[in-house]
């Protein structure tokens, strides 16, 4: 049965289960609750309380406003879906889909866990991993550009134009900043990168495995630079403050989604937050050890060491380990999302020329020099 019609049905079924599970059980709820977290954290930072009322309907149970995302979703679904008369209808409808799809698509190559029931916890284990991510992530600019252009409104158009230039500028430093990683690892496959980090220490925390050599500690300098440049570029890619020029409420009404309402607007909104989750998962996967969490352990044989939670182990420990690894991954992502929110409510927006200067004069050069620095270290300490 496994080979019926020459198709690996087990692979197909597990892939489908993983896809549906990750999108509907993890990412979409996570998106909704990131919006909730954004509102609560921003409120707390500004000495307010935020939405703390919405709980179970028709009762007095507030649950600290945890029902808010559900109420928001219902509101978005029930609102009138307005298509203005002056827009280019086809592209106007296409744009929200293009804004949402790439961020969900990129998740397919990210290993969100080790193994569970003998199945690797990555939807597509492809060798080009990170290249695939960059290729798809750069498509998300089309959603914004088409929205800005088809809306036939000056604010939307300005938002779209700004977004194009911003994303193109920062994609450059985004791509260049990860090259030191590949000089070190020689692989593009994200699963292999996480496996390497699990065995040899995270790239930013080389504390175990062969991580204790001078070479690894010297390499920490370019990797740290890579990490900073990559993180800042992810901020720019996801249009988050301080790089939220495409939206810029104070200048452009709402930027590229000015003319959108109801579920089409919600798709832009979801797309933005899904992109945040994808970006955070990328940072976690590349620099912060992915699903791996070192457990300090002491045994009489090996002395003090960091134990590896193995999802591939047989029986119950394997299942628990696999679940633990998945939880670790999304825990790390959640921490990074909180950091995203924290930064948003701290920094003011960059001016347009400052943004371009930062992208082209600083980050591009830093990333470029960083590659040579890494190559030098790798050449003299092979």
């Amino acid at each position: 049965m496994n080979d019926f019609l020459g198709i690996d049905w087990f692979f197909l079924a597990t892939s489908l289960a993983k896809t549906l599970g990750i999108i509907f059980l993890v990412v979409l709820p996570m998106v909704s609750y990131t919006v909730y977290a954004e509102r609560r954290i921003s409120a707390l930072i500004q000495d307010r309380l935020g939405p703390n009322r919405t709980g179970i309907p028709f009762t007095n149970i507030h649950m600290e406003g945890l029902g808010q995302p559900i109420a928001d979703a219902v509101k978005f679904l029930l609102k009138e879906d307005l298509t203005p008369a002056h827009v280019n209808t086809f592209y106007f409808w296409l744009a929200p889909c293009l804004a949402m799809a790439p961020s969900l698509l990129t998740l397919s190559v990210i290993p969100f866990g080790s193994w569970l029931f003998g199945v690797p916890m990555v939807i597509a284990n492809v060798n080009i991993g990170i290249l695939f991510v960059f290729a798809i992530a750069s498509l998300s600019v089309y959603g914004i550009v088409l929205a800005g252009w088809s809306s036939n409104s000056k604010y939307s158009f300005l938002g779209g134009v700004r977004s194009t230039s911003q994303m193109i500028s920062y994609e450059l430093s985004l791509g260049l900043s990860v090259i030191p990683l590949f000089l070190l690892l020689g692989k593009l496959n994200l699963v292999d990168i996480v496996d390497y980090q699990a065995r040899n220490g995270w790239l930013l925390l080389p504390l175990w495995g062969e991580g204790l050599t001078l070479r690894r500690w010297l390499l920490l300098i370019p990797l740290l630079i890579s990490f900073v440049v990559f993180t800042i570029s992810i901020f720019a890619e996801t249009n988050r403050l301080p790089f939220d020029l495409p939206e810029a409420e104070t200048e452009l009404v709402a930027g590229y989604h000015t003319e959108y309402s109801s579920m089409k607007f919600a798709l832009f909104f979801l797309g933005e937050y899904a992109a945040m989750i994808t970006g955070s998962s990328l940072i976690v996967t590349l620099f912060l050890g992915g699903w791996h969490l070192p457990i300090p352990w002491w045994s009489s044989g090996a002395g003090f060491h960091f134990a590896l939670v193995d999802g591939a182990a047989p029986g119950i420990p394997g299942i628990l380990g696999g679940l633990f690894n998945i939880a670790t991954f999304f825990g790390k992502v959640a921490v990074l999302l909180a950091f995203f929110i924290w930064v948003r409510w701290t920094l003011p927006r960059f001016r347009y020329d400052q943004l371009m200067r930062l992208g082209w004069i600083f980050f591009f050069e830093i990333a470029l020099v960083n590659i040579f620095l890494t190559a030098g270290i790798l050449f003299y300490l092979p």
Partner: protein, 175 residues
């Protein structure tokens, strides 16, 4: 001639920008921490917490009528009706029946309506009343489902006002 605004000369540390970012992040996280620890004073959570116990003694809430032990104080002189800036008060005076002890002394209000949609809580009625019959109490949440419900009639006004003994030196507490 065009005037160029002199730009401030930045130090290297300021140009680096990242120390300023870190300082900003420290400030916002401090606010977050203080909120979580309950050190920041926040707004009152209205339906659960109310102003009632925090009300100052001079608070001007809904105007009400006050009665003495044996008779109502209002003598239907209509001064409050005339002074009321939004014309919220409507009084219908009537003669006191002959059986009563205070017959031929004063009149009394047959009807006394205050339209709480019109009332601006200015307190002029309280100020002008020669009989100390009308007082502004601390009720502030006057609600109703119809316009008719928002008109306080005599019965409602006495209900809110209650009974008061003796005279109150409203304007000079030392007397």
């Amino acid at each position: 001639m065009a005037y160029t605004v002199p730009r401030p000369k930045l130090t290297f540390r300021e140009k680096l920008y990242l120390p300023a970012v870190a300082a900003g992040l420290a400030i916002t996280i401090k606010h977050l921490k203080n909120m979580l620890l309950g050190r920041t004073k926040v707004v009152m959570q209205y339906p659960e917490e109310k102003w009632d116990s925090h009300m100052p003694p001079h608070y001007r809430g809904a105007p009400t009528l006050v009665r003495d032990d044996d008779r109502e104080r209002c003598v239907a002189c209509q001064l409050c009706e005339f002074i009321c800036p939004p014309r919220a008060i409507k009084i219908t005076p009537g003669e006191i029946p002959s059986a009563s002890k205070s017959e031929k002394v004063e009149k009394f209000p047959l009807e006394f309506d205050i339209d709480m949609i019109r009332c601006i809580y200015c307190g002029l009625c309280e100020e002008v009343c020669p009989e100390q019959a009308i007082f502004l109490r601390k009720d502030y949440a006057i609600t109703g489902l119809s316009r008719a419900e928002m008109v306080h009639n005599k019965k409602k006004l006495y209900e809110l006002g209650g009974t008061m003994h003796g005279l109150v030196n409203k304007w000079n507490e030392k007397k």
